[in-house]
Amino acid sequence: MALVVVVDYGMGNLRSVEKALAHLGTSDVIKISGDPADIAIADKIVFPGQGAMPDCMKELESRRLIDPIRLAAATKPFLGICIGLQLLFERSEEGDVPGLGLMLGQARKFSPENLDATGVKFKVPHMGWNKVDICRAHPIFEGIDNQEYFYFVHSYFVEPVVSETVIGETTYCNSFTSAVAFGNLVAVQFHPEKSQHAGLKLLSNFLNWDGQWTC
């Protein structure tokens, strides 16, 4: 029986993530916590987040979570979701703040200039269901079709420096990275907890994953 900690740092709706994990009927213990001690003893970490990146970094700092998260991200199966993906990188254009610096690259804002296929300008945030092109096989995509739809809500996207870490790509005005992985670390821009069957499958895959992956 593994302990899965959903990291609470005061940013966003963690209930959705917790409910989706609980719905999988796992024997794992799912715990929402912002306590560094829980993060230290957890077997797996889910790192969600919503809102603005500068606020997220401020909350992580004031709750003394930066080092515990860095350590967890380097040592145990770790799933970042949405801002939880962007925070892993070096910088974000949002507020021009540094991130956790675990992955090389930065988060940039969508700046749409063209019109979409229906003649409407691209709106920001990128909000709704879009396809994920699985460009590298990964255990969290096990049993999920390529080009499956997932639910997105975000205005910034990451540009990883190391292309081998990109496992999923999506197109919205430009092609962008929607999933990354490095060793025991995996992170997605979309919300699996809100992406119906495919999302639940991805979460289930994460719970079953041993944290091993090489690109």
Binding site: M11, G12, N13, R15, S16, K19, A20, A22, H23, Q50, G51, A52, D116, A117, T118, G119, V120, K121, K123, V124, P125, H126, M127, G128, W129, N130, K131, D133, Q147, Y149, Y151, F152, V153, H154, S155, T171, Y172, E193, K194, S195, Q196, G199, L200
Partner: protein, 255 residues
């Protein structure tokens, strides 16, 4: 390969029960929010919108239980509106499992609310609902109404939309009071004007009668998402049927 246009069924909830004739075959309890939500989820709804129309303030907490129960079973985005007056209301709904909260009358009465709520919880969870009616007296030709369309505000609907975008709204739920209930289709001119003026997504609402109206809402109105209630509830068409018609018209939908 692109972002799909969303179809959002809207459920009216009174005292914790779904009202306004949900007419699915084989539904054990047409008033059970969980059962109705599951049915729409199976049909391929992209999100669900719950409008709390509970009149008595004593019973208003019931919506929280509804959202908690639905959020345990249905894993698509849930928007809740109706009676949201303060940031604390937004927080309660999000905590219960809502992904987005829709603010209508209170956005007009308390102009700081949208800014405060969006800076606390993020723009992604703040929807501003605008009920608009054609009026010659305002610049764009559409005026904002509150209190379910009863009270005029003197506000220009498009200018109001721009102000709410500035305040941090993540999207606009735009209802045409003129078209609502007519089954004659969305107000295309209004939807187009709002969609062209704003840079955030627009959900069109009010007036759907046939599946082709959804197609028009996207191709002519420029809507990013489309909300409807009665056509789905009375079983006149399913979400899937609507999406098939949209796909045939070349619109990307999640099927």
């Amino acid at each position: 390969m692109a972002l799909t246009k969303r179809i959002i069924p809207c459920l009216d909830v009174n005292n914790g029960r779904v009202v306004k004739g949900v007419n699915f075959v084989s539904l054990r309890d047409a008033g059970d929010p969980v059962e109705v939500a599951q049915r729409y989820d199976e049909q391929g709804a992209d999100e669900l919108c719950f409008l709390d129309i509970t009149a008595s303030s004593d019973e208003r907490g019931l919506i929280l239980k509804v959202i908690e129960d639905v959020a345990e079973q249905v894993f698509i985005p849930l928007t809740v509106g109706g009676g949201v007056r303060a940031t604390a209301d937004v927080q309660r709904l999000l905590k219960a499992g809502a992904d987005k909260v829709s603010i209508n009358t209170s956005a007009v009465l308390n102009p700081g609310l949208v800014k405060e709520a969006s800076s606390f919880f993020g723009s992604q969870c703040i929807v501003v609902a605008i009920d608009a009616k054609a009026r010659p007296g305002v610049n764009s030709g559409w005026e904002v109404f509150t209190h379910g369309g009863r009270n005029e505000t003197g506000l220009d609907a498009i200018e109001w939309g721009l102000r709410m975008q500035e305040a941090g709204a993540g999207e606009i739920l735009l209802t045409s009071m003129d078209q609502d209930g007519t089954k004659q289709g969305f107000d295309i001119a209004l939807t187009r004007a709002m969609s062209d003026a704003l840079s955030i997504p627009i959900i069109a609402s009010g007036g759907v009668g046939v599946a082709e109206h959804f197609v028009e809402g996207v191709l002519k109105g420029g809507a990013d998402a489309l909300l409807a209630a009665s056509v789905f509830h009375y079983g006149e068409m399913s979400v899937r049927e609507v999406k098939e018609v949209m796909a045939q018209a070349g619109i990307e939908v999640r099927l």
